[in-house]
Amino acid sequence: MNLPAFAHHGWDWAVDEQTELRGVVKSVSMAPPHPSLEVAAADGVLWHVDLANPSQTARAGFTEASAKPGDAVVVLGNRHKDKTKTVMKAVRITVAGKTYDMYPERIKTN
């Protein structure tokens, strides 16, 4: 079983570069200190995606009802510096046709 790492505070554990992860939502957790998603990527790898803190996540418009298992999801974010850890910190997620900006000031677009 691929158990997700427990990743949280700050950004130093993540790379600077932002990447896109496409997959399917496996589970949604709104529990503090960081709401998170488990996402199965197209290649079957299970990712742990940290959202912003509870207030920032709520301000982004994301609630428990925003995503459910089985929904297609696109995550834009910064992955863990340790490539063996399938953990990512989201700056923006798009699920069920809606976009939620977790960290609007961090989103890098081309």
Partner: protein, 156 residues
Amino acid sequence: MPLVEWIGTWPGAVLLQRSGTAYLFVNATHILAVGLLVGGILPLDLHLAGLLRGAPLAVIGPLLSRSAAVGVGLAIATGLWLFSVKPGEYLHNPAFLCKMALLGLALANVVVQHRSRHYRLALGGGPLHPSVRLVACCSIVLWLAVLVAGRWIGFL
């Protein structure tokens, strides 16, 4: 693990899972408890180790010891509550497991000190036996290690 799953569904856990504000208050109380604990045990241990003076042990010993005990009790209660929010994840967090092991050692060390005849004699105004000083030094190291391991949980 049905027990772990059950822990995550008791009403106290659900309350904190749903409310970031409620979580914040329990979290703040946990920090307060840690402050009480460390704020009591460090001066006491430093005094026992002979590094901090200022008042007779018979006067400050029982007060600092009780204050630290209140801190430990409150920290364990709020800590269990915070743990219940994501029990499965914490059980896989090396820093959390390390903290629990260190906490066990620190509590065992408390028992050793309080059962010591030399500690009771010192509280009564008697001389400080080297074994009391040694256990006090272990206490300082262990409680600071628990503190750091606890902070590490969120940074793995």
